[in-house]
């Protein structure tokens, strides 16, 4: 369908050319049309969501959800509100607290975001939670994992992704391969620059949603203060730039532009009653 539309637009282009261009090389024009088509051969949104849901189901296979409906609902409320301040507010955003003592958070393509119980338990305000979730949202917005998947995937998977084979429901093998390769990206991590970008954009998204811009930096300072040898941080530290480097960049990027932006006290009091009530 898309191909047909492209061809059609190609014809339109052809007839809208000025007269002197009519002696153009037909083969060359076809090549250009092909390249344009290639550039658009991206994973489309339904595919992105399907791959992301598959990866999310795998992550849940590694760690189930924390069995606490109220905490799950609270994290979904914070996350969904923050997501409305992104460029993709209509994705099927969903959030889950994983029952793992590891300190980490994950985003899967299409808008599924996880935070571990280990990380959530170290947070002290809704602004910090919003900062973590906003950082993860940027990975979804900027399709960091899809890019990593394409870069790392074996050629056959990359070709299938490029050819839109996944749209063919009969080809679930292709989808499963993509999901398996996709899950492995979480063990390796993303490019450092993707993480820096997620910090830089995440603080802005949290600020737009009315939260303290320093929520995410505060979390990074918490991570910095935890003994680096603590095994709960092993994967986080392996897959992310050091908190020191991230804080150093944020310091120079934020400057004094965020002075005067704070969160309403009610939000932080709410975090106490929703999360700290467990004490």
């Amino acid at each position: 369908m898309f191909k047909r539309a492209l061809l059609f637009s190609g014809f339109c282009l052809l007839f809208s050319l000025p007269a002197q261009a009519f002696d153009f090389d037909f083969k060359k024009a076809l090549d250009i049309a092909k390249n344009v088509q290639q550039a658009h051969k991206d994973v489309d949104e339904p595919e992105e969501i399907e791959i992301g849901h598959g990866i999310a189901a795998n992550l849940l296979g590694a760690s189930p959800l924390l069995a606490d409906d109220r905490v799950q609902e609270y994290v979904n409320q914070v996350g969904r509100w923050v997501s409305l301040h992104t460029e993709r507010p209509d994705l099927p955003w969903q959030f889950g607290v994983l029952a793992s003592t590891d300190i980490n958070a994950f985003a899967t393509p299409g808008g599924t975001i996880f935070i571990t119980q280990g990380l959530l338990s170290r947070l002290e305000s809704e602004s910090e939670l919003a900062g973590v979730l906003a950082h993860e949202m940027v990975h979804v917005l900027r399709k960091h994992h899809l890019a990593a998947l394409k870069k790392a995937a074996r050629m056959d998977i990359a070709a299938e992704l490029a050819n839109g084979v996944l749209k063919d429901k009969a080809n679930s093998a292709g989808l499963n391969k993509a999901i398996k390769a996709g899950t492995e990206v979480y063990a390796r991590g993303l490019d450092k620059d993707d993480e820096f970008e997620a910090d830089r954009m995440g603080i802005v998204i949290a600020t737009r949603a009315g939260y303290d811009p320093y929520g995410l930096p505060a979390v990074l300072q918490i991570l910095e203060s935890i003994n680096a040898k603590d095994s709960a941080l092993a994967l986080m530290f392996k897959t992310h730039p050091s908190p020191q480097d991230r804080l150093g960049l944020l310091e120079s990027e934020m400057g004094n532009q965020f002075d005067g932006y704070s969160a309403p006290p009610l939000a932080d009091r709410r975090f106490d009653s929703e999360i700290i009530r467990h004490e």
Binding site: A57, S63, L120, E124, T183, P213, S225
Partner: protein, 165 residues
């Protein structure tokens, strides 16, 4: 005797809510009288100077140091994780002004489950995925949740990338 108990209890309750935390200046910076960049400069904090952090307010922390007392930017000081022997505390309470401690979801027990190997060998768990979908919140629910805490949307443009790293 009862008075003594009352006195002890009172002393306990009146104790400072948050402990002083130690951190170090990552570079020299001005100590301000108030947490604003145009506030009066009290002194200059030396690079690597040790500071005691009393509380945080937005992007600022209130400190004591050998150079002087006042406010410095939160990101100009860092905790020294190598010096600390504790595994899981550090800056937690100092960076959350007025808080008495971290949240209480238990972390001492439970499963790890998210090591590199675990992720490579993960098999899908469709039942847990169903639960995940069940907890999702719609836009209207999220907007009500924001109103309940007086959270308001604000305009803010993305920052340009810093290419110096």
């Amino acid at each position: 005797m009862r008075y003594l108990y009352a006195l002890i209890l009172y002393a306990f309750l009146a104790a400072p809510v948050y402990a002083v935390q130690v951190a170090y200046a990552v570079h020299s910076t001005e100590i301000k009288l108030l947490p604003f960049s145009d506030a009066k400069t009290v002194a200059n904090l030396d690079e690597k100077a040790k500071v005691n952090i009393l509380l945080r307010q937005g992007g600022w922390v209130k400190i004591n140091s050998k150079n002087g007392n006042g406010w410095v930017r939160m990101l100009s000081v860092r905790s020294d994780s190598t010096a600390g022997k504790r595994g899981d505390t550090g800056l937690i309470s100092l960076l959350n002004a007025g808080r008495s401690g971290s949240s209480g979801i238990t972390t001492t027990t439970g499963i790890r489950g998210l090591s590199e190997e675990d992720l490579k060998n993960a098999k899908p768990n469709p039942l847990e995925f169903e639960k995940l979908e069940k907890h999702a919140v719609n836009k209207a629910g999220a907007e009500k949740f924001a109103r309940d805490a007086e959270l308001k949307s604000r305009q803010f443009d993305y920052l340009p990338a810093n290419d110096n790293h």
